[in-house]
Amino acid sequence: MLNLTSAIALTMLALGAGLTFVRLVRGPTLPDRVISIDLIGILIVCVLVVVAGDSGQQAFLDVAMVIALISFVGTVAYARYLERERP
């Protein structure tokens, strides 16, 4: 059972992810979409931190760290692709 602040925080994070998804669909250029995917990854990390604080399970923090690492590597790979290919 979630307590009230965690429920409010998760609702706001979901709203932010939905807004970011709007930019991911509409984004006029490819860097816009890369920024949106990066922000969605950070918001997933935020959700995991809130859930870890609410449930007291430390395993969520490990998952958050791994997702942060993979999101960073993915963003850098996209940027290298953009610079090299000039789409």
């Binding site: 602040t5 965690s6 409010i8 925080a9 998760l10 706001m12 994070l13 709203l15 932010g16 992810a17 939905g18 807004l19 970011t20 709007v22 930019r23 006029p28 250029t29 490819l30 860097p31 816009d32 890369v34 920024i35 949106s36 990066d38 922000l39 950070i42 918001l43 990390v45 935020c46 931190v49 809130v50 870890a52 604080g53 007291g56 430390q58 923090l61 490990d62 958050a64 760290m65 942060a68 690492l69 960073f72 963003t75 850098v76 996209y78 940027a79 290298r80 953009l82 610079e83 000039r86 789409p87």
Partner: protein, 115 residues
């Protein structure tokens, strides 16, 4: 008292993350969108991790929160720089209120009239 501080930090952090989403939708330009998302999301995640460390003052939780926070503050700046460089080199259009464009001419957007 500790619970109230932690609850306030959680709400502030979630508000900052929501503002990052709003900034990504509302800003007019790749570069302004990027600075909105980067700054607000880093500060929001920092607030959420601080709330977590206040609520569960174990060594393992605090160390993980500190390492996630330090890692995000390092990598967010690096990835924002790399995306900004790629966007500038591929000729992303700038907002029409931009004052100075210091890119060389061959790197600018081809159809400037559409901006």
């Amino acid at each position: 008292m500790i619970d109230w501080i932690a609850a306030g930090l959680v709400v502030v952090g979630a508000t900052l993350a929501l503002l990052a989403g709003v900034g990504v939708v509302r800003m007019p330009d790749v570069f302004t969108r990027m600075q909105a998302s980067t700054k607000a999301s880093t500060l929001g995640l920092g607030c959420l991790l601080a709330a977590l460390a206040i609520r569960h003052p174990d060594v393992s939780v605090v160390m993980r929160a500190l390492s996630i926070s330090a890692f995000m503050m390092l990598t967010t700046a690096v990835s924002a720089h790399v995306i900004a460089r790629a966007a500038a080199l591929t000729g992303a259009p700038l907002w029409k209120g931009t004052l100075i464009d210091e890119r060389p001419l061959e790197n600018r957007d081809r159809d400037d009239s559409s901006v």
